[in-house]
C-alpha cells in the first residue's frame, strides 16, 4: 500500500527549533504526536527516512538491510524516546564526524543544497515524530 506521504510535507513548513538536554530532545517537535505504524513505513521509504540503507531493523519483508550504522533492533531497550529523537533530528550533536544525516537539522547550516530542497529539513516535524514513535516501540 502506498501511503500519501505528501499530506505530512507541507511545502515551506516553518522550521521548529529544538533543544538538547542531557543528550536528548525530550519534547516532541512542535508538541506533535507520532504514529508508529506510519513511522514504520517512513523508515523503509527510500525517499523519506531510508533508514534501511544503513541500519538493520526488524522488518523481515525488506531484503538487504545496510551495515553502515549500528543495528536498531531492540533500540528502545537501550535508549529513551528523547535520546532516540536527538539521534534522528541531528546525530552530529553527539558525533560531529558521523555520516548520518540530521533529519531535522536547521536548513541554514547546510552547504550548497539543490534548489528543490533548499530551506527545507529532510523530513517534516510530523515525519520525525512518526519515526521516533516507531523506533521507541522497538523494545
Amino acid at each position: 500500500m502506498l501511503l500519501p506521504f505528501t499530506v505530512a510535507v507541507a511545502a515551506g513548513e516553518p522550521y521548529l527549533d529544538w533543544r538538547v538536554e542531557n543528550a536528548a530532545i525530550n519534547s516532541p517537535l512542535g508538541g506533535l504526536q507520532g504514529n508508529p505504524s506510519r513511522g514504520r513505513e517512513l523508515v523503509i521509504a527510500r525517499n523519506k527516512g531510508n533508514c534501511l540503507a544503513c541500519h538493520q531493523l526488524p522488518i523481515a519483508e525488506e531484503p538487504f538491510h545496510g551495515t553502515v550504522g549500528p543495528s536498531l533492533v531492540g533500540l528502545a531497550s537501550r535508549l529513551s524516546e528523547g535520546e532516540i529523537r536527538l539521534r534522528v533530528v541531528d546525530e552530529k550533536q553527539l558525533n560531529p564526524q558521523t555520516v548520518m544525516p540530521g533529519y531535522y537539522r536547521d536548513p541554514a547550516t547546510l552547504n550548497q543544497v539543490a534548489e528543490a530542497y533548499r530551506g527545507r529539513t529532510l523530513l517534516s516535524a510530523q515525519e520525525v515524530e512518526d519515526i521516533v514513535a516507531y523506533l521507541a516501540s522497538l523494545k
Binding site: T67, Q97, P101, Q112, A116, L122
Partner: protein, 252 residues
C-alpha cells in the same frame, strides 16, 4: 552522561580516517562483471574506446590527426606518462586532466575549435588513451606547483554537501566495505574511469560520477571541467597512486 560525551568526542577525534592500502573498485564486483571487464570482446565500454581510436586517427579539416605526432595506435606516446594525469601544465600554469591536455593539443597544436569538457569526443579520446595505458601504475604528483590545487581537492573531499550533509570521505573512507542496502561501498578509486555502468548502460566520466554523487546528497553539482572537479580529480588521482589503470572498467 558528560563522561560519555567526552569519550565519544575523544573517539571520533582520534579515530584514524585513512586508507591503508588502495583497493580497486573491481575488487568489489561480482565474478561475472569482473570477467566482463577483463574480456575486451565482452566489455561494453570498448565501444567508446573504439570511437576514441577512430577520432585519434581521423584527420581534421586541415588534414592533421593525433596519430600524425603520437604515432599509429599511439605507439610514440609514453604510456606511463598517461598514468600521471592530472599533471602540472607549464602552459596553463595549473594542473590539467587528460581531457584538457587532449583539448590543448586539438586547439593549440592543430588550430581547431576546442571541445566542451566531457563531450562524447573528449570522453572517447580519454577512454582510448587510458585503454592504451591499461596496466600502467597510477603516479599522480601532489607536490611542487600542484600542491595548492591538491590541498583544495582534499578539502572538497572532506566537505559536507547538500540536504543530506555528507562528504565523499564518509562513504569511501569511513565506511568502505560496508553495505548500503545491497551495494558494497568501494574506496572510490578512480583507476577504472571512464567506466561503463551496467545499471545505466552507458559510459560514465569521472566528473559525471562526481555530479551523480552530489545529486544523491541533494546538492547542486559543480560543472564538468570546473576547477572544483579538477582539484578533486587531482586529489583522488594521488589517492589512487599504486593502482593499475583498468579503463574501461565495468561497474554494476
Amino acid at each position: 552522561m558528560r563522561r560519555v560525551l567526552i569519550m565519544v568526542f575523544l573517539f571520533v577525534s582520534v579515530a584514524p580516517v585513512t586508507v591503508a592500502e588502495p583497493v580497486s573498485g573491481s575488487a568489489f564486483l561480482s565474478e561475472e562483471t569482473r570477467a566482463m571487464q577483463e574480456d575486451t570482446f565482452a566489455n561494453p565500454g570498448m565501444e567508446m574506446v573504439e570511437h576514441g581510436r577512430m577520432l585519434f586517427h581521423k584527420p581534421d579539416e586541415e588534414g592533421h590527426a593525433c596519430a600524425d605526432c603520437h604515432g599509429e595506435e599511439g605507439w610514440l606516446m609514453d604510456k606511463s606518462r598517461l598514468a600521471g594525469y592530472p599533471r602540472y601544465s607549464e602552459y596553463l600554469e595549473r594542473p590539467v586532466t587528460l581531457q584538457q591536455q587532449a583539448n590543448v593539443c586539438w586547439e593549440e597544436q592543430m588550430d581547431n575549435f576546442p571541445y566542451v569538457y566531457d563531450c562524447k569526443e573528449l570522453v572517447a579520446l580519454e577512454s582510448y588513451l587510458k585503454f592504451l595505458a591499461r596496466g600502467e601504475t597510477i603516479h599522480v604528483r601532489s607536490d611542487g606547483p600542484v600542491k595548492p590545487f591538491y590541498e583544495a581537492g582534499k578539502r572538497l573531499y572532506h566537505a559536507r554537501f547538500g540536504q543530506l550533509d555528507m562528504a565523499c570521505v564518509h562513504c569511501h573512507d569511513q565506511h568502505q566495505g560496508q553495505r548500503l542496502r545491497a551495494q558494497t561501498l568501494s574506496q572510490g578509486q578512480i583507476n577504472g574511469f571512464p567506466v561503463f555502468r551496467l545499471s545505466t548502460g552507458r559510459i560514465t566520466s569521472l566528473h559525471r560520477r562526481f555530479s551523480e554523487c552530489l545529486a544523491s546528497f541533494r546538492s547542486e553539482p559543480f560543472l564538468p571541467g570546473s576547477d572544483e572537479y579538477i582539484n578533486l580529480e587531482l586529489y583522488l588521482g594521488v589517492r589512487s597512486n599504486g593502482l593499475k589503470i583498468e579503463t574501461p572498467a565495468v561497474r554494476e
